[in-house]
Symmetry: C2
Subunit: 455 residues, 2 copies
């Protein structure tokens, strides 16, 4: 059978897929850092070349930010369904770089893992899907038509995706979106994400005196902006772990009893999370389970803090300013615009007159939930079941994939979130890794998904 | 008269004193930064050379940290009083370096000010005193004997001074200490500092997960150490601006009514401080005036904050750790050791079990108050009155000069704090400056002080 030939080809050429991934992670496509602008272009070219080599008509399309790679093939014919593969070639910054055990932009294999920035999020997933296409082509005609949309700004909140998808609406027409920027719960525990949190990311700056002051000469008479910042940030949670921004929970869709029941069926991950993160005790909003807190409840995090003197030793300075990066993870029906307003309202109510402050919005993504009763979802379930020997569980993920809600709104299409990262892959952190057995299983699963959908 | 000749010489050679200061500030003697270790040695050598050229027996003495310059001359004879001049050749780091209008280690004159790190704190004061000695030598025999103790660790809390002064107790024997690390309230408002706050400086580190986490995957179930740090820091003040560490005010000597009355006679500096610092509104402990808050009340400041991602753009990280530099300014009879204990007690009571934390003590200085009814103090009053045309006011300063309490304890001698910095000299901040008219008046005042004391 064709599918078996494709699976055999995929298994026989693992070193080829590995080399391909090594090449891709070697390009430091850090979208947030302007010094990597040229690497971003190289990254887009690399993806476009791969698609051309597979016989796709591919193109690098400009945006006002980083370029987008588009490609398509109608080889399967008009009767076959069309799958739009969504991915991104950009990665998070490697900071703090000193904590990497091997260079972040050099694929390094230790044990069963390949270490590199982007290995799991998500160059590994994209390479797995492309490798699956190659294997299927070697075995016979493709069972479905593929289109590709691979952007370079997912890690900075996909600011250009809305206008881009709108502008290319006709060209991106498809039956279903295959979003490969996803993960499963464990190497033996296949899962499908059907809910994603949204994101609203801000920089808050508090300004005190016009310049740094001597803390002895002025300490006690001038309000310290670092202290004001700490007080403002501390006040954003109450003692129950709830966010205190005015109206923050007003639009949060309550969990239905049946969904709470389904989430309660998931294996208990408390011990796994505790051990992976090294903390002695969990934390979070009272009254919700871990799965509910991660997938179905909104949060507010401090992502960064900077003020005054942070070098070696002591410097007795009363700093002129203090900065925090803060972000909220959102759930339906919150919107980034509304939490922005809530943040401003909170600051207007709480910030003392002794300082000035300003807020910059750095990223915004709407949360999304997709339907579980479609033919494409059934194809994904079949592929995962055959690959892992057990049916997948359905989960809601804590992270954000901006394009999922976008595809619902602008193309009217649900996304199938099918990717093979693992919770302990150190996404966005030092020593990001890809579990290679999962990489190989991922290739097989993408093959099975296409044949199941095309059947 | 000899004194007039000395004053004339000082006035006639101003460009010589200015060149000397330019040379001294050109050496980046940043004591807290290990990469400046060689510059520290160069700084000590520069001071020792100056003293040798004045005919003093000088020596560079080792410590376990930066070296100390010692020198003495008994040219005035046994009947004359001996003055121990104390100073320091080290300076604060120039950070944030981007905010300097001219290179921090290059004397740059704009208007009546000379800009450079250390220009006011306190290379300018030391050069003024050395220049006064040269002028007196040119005019005739010195009216008093001088000894010198010039250390290189004042800006990091003088960690080696206690053992050094103890070990050189005999050699440092004197009648009075002339501490030139000081300032006056305004170019037309001479003042003498008789009280100095102490200092206790700490680094507080809060540890959450063992490594940085993806804020979407783990936000809401793992306590964020930056949030814990902010909550701990925010709780260190109450709504009245009082410090909440347990027992913090127990040892604070209440201000006597007569001292409050004397401090109330000082010119009101609110408007000056507001305008210099650029804030719209003052802040501080309720129930005390500005002069009282600065000189006679203890404070707690955040000197630095660092956690997570602080670069350009957004990174959705839940940081593994968070750090704050915090320091307390102390008044009699607080001690650095006791506030350290109070800080630990506060943290033990307040820090949640979800994180680990540690505190490092980086500097400690006992506060000091000196007597106002001694002959040396009278000589200082005379010198200031003659130089500025009006008698000085007595003030308590907000900063710390560790060696003042040390000299009381180990040598049994009060210090006369006679220096000519100004409140708006940008000490410890970018664009530190020295007001040159004050520099020249300072030289004359040191001459008058020596003759008045020797008379």
């Amino acid at each position: 059978m064709t599918i078996d030939q494709a699976l055999q080809y995929a298994q026989a050429h693992r070193s080829r897929w590995l080399d391909r991934l090594g090449e891709f992670v070697g390009i430091p496509t850090v979208s947030t850092a302007s010094e990597h602008a040229n690497d971003m272009v190289r990254g887009a070219q690399w993806v476009a070349n791969q698609l051309s080599q597979l016989g796709f008509a591919s193109e690098i399309a400009r945006t006002s930010g980083h370029p987008v790679v588009l490609a398509e093939s109608t080889a399967a014919g008009k009767g076959a369904p069309t799958v739009l593969v969504y991915g991104h070639y950009d990665v998070q910054p490697p900071d703090p770089i000193g904590e990497w055990r091997s260079p972040p932009f050099e694929a390094t294999i230790r044990g069963e893992d390949l270490f590199a920035r982007g290995a799991s999020d998500m160059k590994g997933q994209l390479v797995a899907q492309l490798s699956a296409v190659e294997a299927m082509q070697k075995a016979g005609p493709l069972p479905v038509n593929f289109k590709y949309l691979v952007e370079g700004e997912e890690e900075v909140g996909s600011p250009n995706m809305p206008s881009f998808v709108q502008a290319h609406h006709e060209r991106l027409h498809c039956d279903v979106v295959l979003n490969v920027d996803s993960m499963i719960l464990g190497p033996a525990l296949p899962s499908i994400v059907y809910g994603l949190r949204g994101l609203a990311y801000f920089e808050l700056r508090v300004f005190g005196p016009s310049h740094d002051l001597h803390s002895g000469q002025f300490g006690g008479v001038i309000q310290n902006p670092a202290q004001v910042l700490c007080e403002l940030l501390a006040g954003m949670h109450d003692s129950q772990g709830r966010v205190t921004l005015p109206g923050f929970y007003d639009k949060v869709r309550p969990l239905e009893p049946e969904e709470r029941e389904a989430l309660a069926q998931l294996p208990n991950r408390d011990e796994e999370v505790r051990s992976f993160t090294g903390v002695s005790q969990m934390w979070g909003e009272k009254g919700f389970t871990l799965a509910e807190r991660i997938g179905a409840r909104p949060t507010l995090e401090i992502n960064g803090l900077l003020s005054g003197f942070t070098g070696e030793g002591s410097k007795t300075v009363l700093p002129a300013k203090a900065m925090a990066k803060i972000s909220m993870r959102l759930v339906p029906d919150q919107t980034p615009e509304e939490v922005h307003e809530q943040l401003l309202k909170y600051l207007k109510e709480r910030a003392p007159n002794t300082v000035k402050w300003e807020v910059t919005s750095l990223a915004g993504t709407t949360p999304a939930v997709v339907r579980r009763n479609t033919p494409a979802m059934q194809a994904a379930v079949t592929a995962l079941t055959q690959t892992f020997g057990r049916p997948p569980v359905f989960t809601r993920e804590g992270g954000s994939v901006p394009v999922v809600s976008l595809m619902q709104t602008l193309l009217g299409r649900d996304s199938i979130l099918l990717g093979f990262g693992l919770p302990n892959d150190n996404l966005h952190a030092p020593n990001e890794k890809l579990h290679l057995p999962n990489f190989y299983r991922g290739i097989e699963c993408y093959i099975r998904f296409a044949y199941a959908l095309g059947a």
